[in-house]
Amino acid sequence: MPETFDTEYDHNKEFLTVRTSRNMLESFDRRKIVQSLIKETGISKEIAEEIALEVEETIKKLKLKFISAPLIREIVNVKLLERRLEDARRDYTRLGLPVYDATQIIEKGVRENANLQHNPETIHKLVADWVMKEYALLKALPLHLADAHMRGEIHIHDLEYFVTRPYCFQHDLRWFLKNGLKVDGTGENTAVAGPAKNAEVAILHAAKALAAAQTNFAGGQGLDFFNVWLAPYMAGKTYKEIKQLAQMFIYELSQMYVARGGQVVFSDIDIEYGVPKICQDLPAVLPGGVVKDSITYGDFEEEAIMFARALTEVYLEGDYVGKPFFFPKPNYKLRRECFKKEGFDEFMILVHKVVAKYGSPYFLNLLAGYLPDNVFAQCCRLVLSPDNTDWEDFKNGCMRTGSLQVVTINLPRIAYESNGNDEKLFELLEERMKLAREVIEIKRDIILKRMKQGSLPFLTQDVNGEPYYRVDKVVRSIGFVGLNEMLKAHTGEELHESKDAWRFGLEVIKRMMDIAMEWSEETGQRWVITQTPAESASHRLALLDLKEFNGKAVVQGDVKTGAVYYTNSSHVRVSADVPLFERLRIEGAFHPLCNGGMMAHVWIGESSPNPELLWELTKKIATKTLIGYWAYTKDMTFCRDCKNLSGGIKKSCPNCGSSNVEWYSRVTGYYQRVSGWNDGKRKELFDRKRVNLG
């Protein structure tokens, strides 16, 4: 074994040129392998030299004219593996995608994410996603956690963003109104704006704050009390002017096609009827960022109502061609105090006209008896209960919260593995939750590190001596998918089939909540259980289980074509023949247990439901069930030719007969074009049980 590099071996130089990863042509030099091995993997110089020599031998035998640096690397990797140096191999390997897949992405895009249009920005995003996802699995997560995800025991959401950004966030507009806006977080790369002096600018700041934040977050961006915090800016304006402002805001957020590689911002706003009691005595942030103790939000009741109505009317009108606005998603809060306010009924009928036409509004039910006076609802289904320190922030004008990361537990898998044994099932449940916890704890460290490294500038802005993003104040979300299939596999009955199955299901989710509460006490951080936004998870996990537990796996959809899925969280199977009142009773029972977010979908089959009666229905759901958060979903068919929008999924346009139609339905909470769906989701659409035969 030669101890040093001996020029005798360097004749390779003369005939072999290397295309390096830095887009240069270099001559082959064995010493480069040695140097890089030592630098990147930390193995000893002796082994590095030994490997380099072997690699050279191998290459020589190939008698090549050119060789690419990545190929040399792979040959080195083989030598590392031959020596069982797996850790070194992991550090030394390359990330990237096969040419075939790159071509697919460039030419076809992917269907996994319903929000992605096929365009140059998203092509870049998808290629980058690929690398970042691989990086997360290979480098950021230890093998056992990466494997747990790959095997489908858990599903780590938004892996492509795992090493760069937290999940979702709810902002406090007052802070931006008072302090102005640095969209890049530092003001170094973009212009710095002072506090908005008039309504137009305030509206634009609100829209831009969300877009700016989106560059630092993976998921949804919300603005609570939207019409309340902006009410002071509407003072003295006519209704027509206010409506113009409402329109401007909604168009901004539904047209800025810029976030995360060419998507709109996943935004949502909370709309209140007037100024709720909890806000009335707070000093108002006025145009110019001025705050006077003598002027409080309670003084702007009328403006808040006018603005709420204006926003709702804009939603009702739809865009220029009559399509619904999908963003920002409007959440309407139902509070007991609203019912005493004049005009509330009329306002809610207007809201339900939007429901009847498009289905889009969401309802947050503060009447159910278990949610506190304010809950923060945003993005897909996150609903958070504030604690004392949140109320402190609320009073100080910068209430903010969010979820750091979501990890979903594959419940049916646990059932397959526990073979009907309850004890084993609960044991595995806790084990899987611990995996999720480990993942989220790693995520915490990563985000802290990124904040220190300065790569999350929007998050590190200073708020009264604290960073805007406080890692230990946001929640850690543990989700779950397929309770229904778990029950079928474990008890032989689906969620809706017996009271016992239902009860067992409640016990499972209660156990999850208890564990999360224990952890919260233990760590001082917020661990919560959430009804997972399961867009791709339910399809991926069902597919994996079908392969792994063939014969035992209970999946929905079409096994032959692979268009399979698990039922969302603790929902009743979408195609089950269960009347709505029963469905809401069963699903509602889970809502108080999901302290990190819940969501029920009420599918409307009627093509033109009656708005007044829909409002009656909303009141019934609010007062007679435990449903905390829900939306009506109306499937729609939009005609590309005559621009007619009609209810239901139709093969051709009822107005002009054209079959050049697009379908819209709700996936995870956002309305999307059905053509952007994965196979599992498309199948689910056709399996749905609707409220009415139509």
């Binding site: 009347p579 709505l580 009142f581 029963e582 809401l584 009627e606 093509s607 033109s608 439901p609 009656n610 007044e612 009666l613 829909l614 009656e616 229905l617 019934k620 759901i621 007679k624 009609s646 209810g647 009822p654 409220v691 009415n692 035969l693």
Partner: protein, 234 residues
């Protein structure tokens, strides 16, 4: 009773009330454009209890719409029992009827909150359309009973191209006005799965034309509504 099915929640089948819709099987008519022709015969034999059970726990509804087929084709005693039980539950009741059973109608009216009665064509053409020789006479009798009952009701016509035209609507509305009918509904025909196969290829009139017909009817009836995707008052 002969059960045809249930729709657990509707916002469009009972004016002003969230309701469940109960379908009964069996009907003496054979209208060529019948959409529920699978309910014209057959059905599952059930007792009043079973029907009550199906709506009793439905906390979302304030009413029940009995339809069919022809709900009044069911046994009168059972019908009365059902209506009493529904009332006890605090539910409002609407009946959709084709008007062929005036005596039964008069006996159930006390227990009913709303009636929607078909007036399918002019009296002269009733027999031909429904397949029953005595239909016109009995329907007119029902109309008279309804008009004098003080109960809330609507009369409705399904506007089937090739069967109903402007002239027809004019004549019908004249008859209605003689009885003092106050609310008249023109329903858009839907060709999906109708009884007479030939009609399955007949395109419904567009809304615009229905509104035009509505304006003709409006000369004789104070309130005219066109019902297609949603409702619109003329």
């Amino acid at each position: 009773m002969l059960w045809g099915g249930i729709l657990d929640l509707s916002t469009i089948d009972f004016p002003g009330k969230l309701c469940s819709v109960i379908f009964f099987a069996g009907c003496p008519f054979r209208c060529p454009y019948c959409q529920n022709h699978r309910l014209l015969s057959g059905g599952i034999k059930v007792g009043v209890d079973e029907i009550v059970e199906a709506v009793k726990r439905n906390y979302l509804i304030d009413g029940v719409c009995l339809t069919g087929g022809e709900p009044l084709a069911q046994d009168l005693e059972e019908l009365l029992e059902l209506l009493r039980r529904l009332k006890d539950l605090g539910l409002a009741v609407k009946i959709d009827t084709n008007g062929y059973y005036p005596e039964k109608l008069s006996k159930v009216l006390d227990l009913v909150d709303y009636v929607a009665m078909d007036f399918k064509t002019t009296p002269e053409r009733y027999a031909e359309l429904t397949g029953r020789g005595d239909s016109a006479e009995r329907v007119l009798k029902s109309l008279e009973i309804l008009a004098n009952s003080g109960i809330e009701y609507e009369v409705r016509t399904t506007v089937v191209p090739t069967i109903i035209d402007g002239e027809e609507i004019e004549k019908i509305s004249e008859v209605l006005s003689e009885f003092g009918v106050r609310k008249y509904v023109l329903q858009q025909f839907r060709n999906e799965d109708v009884l007479d196969e030939k009609l399955r290829n007949v395109e419904p009139y567009p809304k615009g034309y229905l509104l035009e017909l509505g304006r003709i009817a409006k000369r004789n009836v104070p309130k005219v509504i066109v019902r297609c995707e949603g409702e619109e008052e003329v």
